[in-house]
C-alpha cells in the first residue's frame, strides 16, 4: 500500500515537471535554449534543460517526511522521470501528427527534431521515455548519495553549464594573446566549449570544490556570531572589489552592463527608503527618474530645446533637487492613501508623467516624441568621461555616496520613524511622529536617488526619449529590491545583478526575459519573501509572522467534525 502511495506521489511530481517542460516547449523557450550550445555539436542548453527536468523530477520524487528507503527512492525517481518525460513525448507525437503550428507558433519542425533527437517519432519518443527514466534514476541517486559527492557533482556540472552559457563573456575577458589565449583556444571554439574544454572545466571545478570543502572542515569549531558577520562582510567586500575591477579586465561591454546595474542599484536604494523602510508602496518611481533625466537634458543639451548649456557637474545637483521637489509634490496629495491603494495611486502619477513627457502638448518644452538629443558627456578638466567604463566609475562613486547616505539614514531617528510608520501609522502618530514630515521626507529622499540615476542615465545615452520611462522600470526596481531583500543594501546590489545584469548579459534570451521575470517573482514570493539577502530585522519579522500563522492554521489540521 505504501509502495502504491509512493508511486502515486512520484508520478504526480513527475507530471508537474513534464507539464513545465511542455510549457517551455510550447512557449518557444526550449527551442531558443537549444540554439545556445554548451558543448559545441554535442550538448545544447535545450537538451541540457530536458535532461535536468528529468533529474529534478527524480530528485524530488518523494518528500523527506515520507522517510522512504533507498530502494524506494531509486524506484520512485525512475518513475518520476518517466512521468516527466511522458507529457513531452506526447507533445512530440502531437506535433508530428497534427498540424499545430498554425495555432501554436513555437511548435516548429526544429522543435520536433530537438524533442526526438532527430530520430523520428517512434524512436524519438522511446528515447525520451527511456532518457526520462534514466535521468530520474540519476536524480534519485544524487539524492541518496553522500552530500559531499553530491555537492561536488552539482558544482562541477553547474560550472560546465555556466562556462558554456557565458562563453562570449569569458572569451571577451580572455582576449589576450599568449598563454591566456592558448587557454582560451583549448577551452572554447567560436560559440561554445569544446568537449575537451568541458572535461577540463568539470575536473577543475570538482577539484576546487573538494579543496574548499576539506579546507572548511579543517577549520574546526563552527564560528560564532561575530566571526560570521565578519566573514559575510569580507565576502561582500571581495565581491564588490571584483565587480569594481571587472570592467577594466573585461572591456567596454561589461562596463556598460555594470553601469546599467549600477543605475538600478541607485534607484533601488531610493525605493528602498520608501518601500523598505517607510512602507510606502510607490509604483510611480519612474517619474522621479524621468525628472532627473529630463532636467539634466534640458540644462546641458546642445539642442534647441535646451534652456541652458551647463556642464554635467552643474546640472546634476539641480536635477537631484528638482527630483526632490517633485517627490514632495507627488507625496502631498497621496499622504492619506494607504496600502494597495497607494500603489495604484502612485502608478497613476507615474503614468501621468509618462504621458505628459510624450505628449505634443508638452513638446515645446520637453521635446515630445523626438526627445532631447545631443547631451554632452561629463568632463573632468580636459578629459571627457565618454566610455562606458569611465561612466561606470562615475556611477560607482555615486552609488557609494548614496549607499553611505542610505546607511546613515537607516540608523538615524528618521529611519526609525519610518520603520514605525511602516508597522502601524496610527500608533506611530500616537507616539508623536509627525506623519506628514516623515512621509514627505521619504518621498523626497527616495526621489533624490532616482533623480541622480536619471541624470547619469541621460548623459550615458546622450539623448532622452520618452519611451525610456515606462511603468516597467518602476516594477523592475520594485522587483529587484524585493527579490534582493527589502531594507537591505547588499540585497539591493544582489537583486540588481540578478534581475538587471543577467538579462543584459544573456541578451540572446531577451525575448523571454519577462517570462522568467514573472516566474521568478511568483517563486520568490512564495518560497523566500524576505529576498535573497535580507536584512536581519526583516528576516526575523517575516518568519516570526509565519510561525504564528502556522500555529493558527494548525487548528485546521486537527480532525474535523463530521459534516
Amino acid at each position: 500500500m505504501r509502495r502504491f502511495f509512493f508511486m502515486r506521489t512520484a508520478v504526480g511530481r513527475g507530471l508537474m515537471f513534464g507539464a513545465g517542460g511542455v510549457h517551455l516547449a510550447v512557449v518557444g523557450v526550449l527551442l531558443m535554449l537549444h540554439n545556445r550550445s554548451i558543448i559545441v555539436d554535442t550538448l545544447s542548453l535545450g537538451q541540457a534543460t530536458l535532461v535536468m527536468l528529468g533529474v529534478a523530477a527524480g530528485a524530488v520524487a518523494l518528500p523527506e517526511r515520507l522517510s522512504p528507503d533507498r530502494g524506494a527512492q531509486l524506484a520512485a525517481g525512475a518513475v518520476a522521470g518517466l512521468a516527466a518525460a511522458a507529457p513531452i513525448a506526447l507533445l512530440a507525437v502531437a506535433i508530428g501528427t497534427i498540424r499545430l503550428q498554425s495555432i501554436f507558433v513555437a511548435l516548429t519542425p526544429d522543435l520536433l527534431k530537438l524533442l526526438t533527437s532527430d530520430l523520428g517519432l517512434g524512436w524519438g519518443s522511446a528515447l525520451l521515455l527511456g532518457g526520462g527514466l534514466l535521468a530520474g534514476l540519476i536524480g534519485a541517486a544524487l539524492r541518496v548519495c553522500p552530500p559531499a559527492i553530491r555537492s561536488t557533482l552539482i558544482a562541477a556540472v553547474t560550472a560546465v553549464i555556466l562556462a558554456g552559457v557565458f562563453e562570449e563573456l569569458i572569451q571577451l575577458m580572455l582576449q589576450y594573446e599568449g598563454p591566456i589565449g592558448a587557454v582560451r583556444d583549448t577551452l572554447y571554439v567560436w560559440n561554445g566549449l569544446t568537449p575537451l574544454g568541458a572535461v577540463i572545466v568539470f575536473v577543475v571545478a570538482a577539484a576546487v570544490h573538494q579543496a574548499w570543502a576539506i579546507f572548511g572542515r579543517h577549520r574546526g569549531t563552527a564560528p560564532d556570531e561575530g566571526q560570521l558577520r565578519r566573514q559575510r562582510m569580507i565576502r561582500a567586500g571581495v565581491a564588490l572589489l571584483v565587480l569594481a575591477i571587472m570592467p577594466v579586465l573585461a572591456g567596454a561591454y561589461i562596463g556598460q552592463v555594470l553601469m546599467l546595474v549600477g543605475l538600478y542599484i541607485l534607484m533601488g536604494m531610493g525605493l528602498n527608503l520608501e518601500v523598505g523602510l517607510a512602507g510606502l508602496l510607490d509604483l510611480g518611481f519612474v517619474a522621479f527618474f524621468a525628472v532627473g533625466a529630463y532636467t539634466t537634458a534640458l540644462l546641458t543639451a546642445d539642442s534647441p530645446h535646451a534652456l541652458l548649456h551647463l556642464g554635467f557637474w552643474m546640472a546634476m545637483p539641480v536635477s537631484v533637487v528638482l527630483a526632490v521637489l517633485v517627490g514632495v509634490v507627488f507625496g502631498l496629495p497621496v499622504l492619506g492613501v494607504r496600502g494597495d491603494y497607494l500603489a495604484v495611486a502612485t502608478m497613476g502619477l507615474g503614468e501621468i508623467v509618462r504621458v505628459l513627457v510624450l505628449s505634443d502638448f508638452a513638446a515645446p518644452l520637453l521635446g515630445g516624441a523626438q526627445g532631447v538629443l545631443q547631451i554632452p558627456k561629463p568632463r573632468l578638466g580636459d578629459v571627457v568621461l565618454g566610455s562606458p567604463v569611465q561612466l561606470f566609475y562615475v556611477t560607482l562613486v555615486a552609488s557609494g555616496v548614496a549607499a553611505f547616505v542610505a546607511w546613515r539614514l537607516e540608523n538615524s531617528r528618521l529611519g526609525r520613524a519610518w520603520m514605525a510608520l511602516r508597522d502601524d501609522e496610527d500608533v506611530a502618530q500616537a507616539l508623536g511622529i509627525n506623519l506628514v514630515r516623515s512621509k514627505l521626507l521619504a518621498y523626497g529622499l527616495g526621489a533624490a536617488f532616482a533623480g541622480l540615476a536619471g541624470s547619469i542615465f541621460a548623459t550615458m545615452l546622450t539623448s532622452v526619449y520618452p519611451s525610456s520611462f515606462q511603468l516597467l522600470i518602476s516594477i523592475n526596481v520594485l522587483a529587484l529590491i524585493i527579490v534582493g531583500g527589502m531594507g537591505s543594501l547588499p540585497g539591493v546590489v544582489l537583486g540588481s545583478i540578478v534581475l538587471i545584469g543577467l538579462p543584459e548579459l544573456l541578451r540572446e534570451f531577451g525575448e523571454y526575459r519577462y517570462l522568467f521575470y514573472g516566474a521568478a517573482l511568483i517563486v520568490m514570493m512564495q518560497w523566500r519573501p524576505e529576498g535573497l539577502w535580507p536584512s536581519e530585522v526583516r528576516r526575523r519579522e517575516l518568519h516570526a509572522g509565519e510561525t504564528t500563522a502556522e500555529l493558527d492554521q494548525g487548528a485546521d489540521l486537527l480532525p474535523a467534525e463530521p459534516r
Binding site: F104, L349, D360, L478, M525
Partner: protein, 362 residues
C-alpha cells in the same frame, strides 16, 4: 489643544488647523474642476459636433464602459473576498479573447458565423469562458492560495509576476503580432434612428453586457454561494465561524470573475477587432480604477464605475481637453483616466457607492 484655550469660535479654530497639506489638496480639487469646467464651456461655445456625433461619443463611451464594467466586476469581487488587487485580471480577459479568436476564425472562414450568429457567438463565448475560468482557477490555486488575507507586498508582487507570466506565455505560444478578429457581416452594419446611428456590434455588446451583469447580480444576491461570498467579503472570520468553507467561496469568486473577464475579452475583441498578448494590462488597470470609483467590493458600484469611466474616456479629450486648446488631445486620454483614478483614491476611496472601510488596510 490645551483645556484652558480661549474659545475663539468654531471658524477660527478650523482655520488654525489648516496646514500646507490641506491647501495642496484644495488646490488640486479646484484645479481639476477648473480644467473640466473651462474646457467644457469653451468647447460648447465652439460647438463643432453635430447631434449625431454627440450620440456617437455616447455610444462609444457606453460600449467601452460596458467592457470596463465587466472587468471591474471581477476585480471588485476578488478584492472583496481576498483583499488582493489581482493585477493579472486583465490578462484573464486576454486569455479569453485569444481562446475566442481561435474559435471565431474557423467559424468565420467556413461561413458558419455569418449564417448562424447566435450559435456561433454562443460557441465563442463558451470556449472563452472555459479558458479564462480555468486560468483564473489555476492562478488562484498556484499563486494566490498561500497568501490568504496576508496583506502586505508579497501578494501584490506575486500578482504582478502572474501578469507578466501569462502575457509572455501567450506571446510565446501565439506570437507577438497583432491578430485580427473576424468581422461577421451582421456586425458590420448599423441601426439607424433618424440621423442617429448605432453600430450593431456596439448595441450588441452593451445589451449583452448588461444582461450578463444582471445575471451576476442575481447570482450574488439570490443564491447561497452568492450570500456566502458577500459574508466572506464582509468578515471572513465570522463567515468561517458560521460554517462557510472559505476555500470554496474563493474558488467560486474566481470562477465568476474569470467568466466575466472571458466574456469581456470576447466583446472587446469583437468591438476592436484585435487580439494581442499585451491587450489586457491597460484595460485591467483602468477597470480597477472603475471598480474603486464605484466602490470596491460593491457590484452595482463596479458597473457604474465602468460605464462612467468609459464615457469619460470617450468624451473627455474631445470636450474639455480640446476646449482648452491642447494639441493632439487623444494622446492625453490616459491622463484623464489616471487623474480620475487618483482623485477617487485621494478624496473618496470608498467610491461613489461604497461604505467607508472600517479596518485599515496593510
Amino acid at each position: 489643544m490645551s483645556a484652558t484655550a480661549i474659545d475663539r469660535g468654531p471658524w477660527l479654530t478650523a482655520l488654525a488647523r489648516i496646514n500646507a497639506v490641506d491647501i495642496v489638496l484644495w488646490a488640486l480639487r479646484i484645479g481639476v474642476l477648473l480644467v473640466v469646467v473651462v474646457g467644457t464651456i469653451n468647447e460648447l461655445i465652439k460647438d463643432p459636433y453635430t447631434a449625431a456625433q454627440w450620440f456617437d461619443f455616447l455610444m462609444f463611451g457606453l460600449t467601452l464602459g460596458s467592457i470596463y464594467a465587466q472587468i471591474a466586476l471581477g476585480y471588485t469581487m476578488v478584492y472583496g473576498v481576498l483583499r488582493l488587487i489581482n493585477f493579472a485580471h486583465g490578462d484573464f480577459m486576454m486569455c479569453g479573447a485569444f481562446a475566442g479568436y481561435f474559435v471565431a476564425t474557423p467559424l468565420e472562414n467556413s461561413g458558419f458565423l455569418d449564417t448562424h450568429p447566435v450559435a456561433g457567438m454562443a460557441a465563442i463565448l463558451a470556449v472563452a469562458i472555459v479558458v479564462s475560468t480555468t486560468i483564473a482557477l489555476l492562478t488562484e490555486r498556484i499563486a494566490y492560495r498561500p497568501f490568504r488575507r496576508a496583506g502586505g507586498l508579497a501578494p501584490l508582487i506575486c500578482a504582478i509576476g502572474v501578469s507578466f507570466f501569462l502575457e509572455q506565455t501567450f506571446r510565446g505560444m501565439f506570437g507577438s503580432d497583432v491578430k485580427a478578429y473576424p468581422s461577421p457581416s451582421w456586425q458590420r452594419s448599423a441601426f439607424q434612428f433618424g440621423s442617429l446611428q448605432i453600430p450593431r456590434v456596439d448595441a450588441l455588446v452593451i445589451v449583452l453586457a448588461v444582461l450578463f451583469m444582471g445575471l451576476l447580480y442575481l447570482i450574488v444576491q439570490r443564491t447561497r454561494m452568492g450570500t456566502a461570498m458577500r459574508a466572506t467579503s464582509e468578515d471572513p472570520e465570522a463567515a468561517a465561524l458560521m460554517g462557510i468553507d472559505v476555500n470554496k467561496v474563493v474558488v467560486f469568486t474566481f470562477i465568476l470573475g474569470g467568466a466575466m473577464a472571458g466574456i469581456a475579452g470576447v466583446f472587446y475583441a469583437f468591438v476592436y477587432k484585435q487580439v494581442y498578448f499585451y491587450m489586457g494590462f491597460e484595460p485591467g488597470v483602468k477597470a480597477f480604477g472603475a471598480a474603486v470609483l464605484g466602490g470596491i467590493g460593491n457590484i452595482p458600484g463596479a458597473m457604474l464605475g465602468g460605464f462612467f469611466l468609459g464615457l469619460v474616456e470617450s468624451i473627455g479629450p474631445s470636450v474639455f481637453l480640446d476646449g482648452l486648446g491642447i494639441p493632439a488631445p487623444y494622446q492625453l486620454r490616459d491622463l484623464i483616466a489616471f487623474t480620475l483614478l487618483i482623485m477617487v483614491l485621494i478624496f473618496r476611496p470608498q467610491g461613489l457607492l461604497g461604505e467607508r472601510m472600517a479596518k485599515k488596510r496593510a
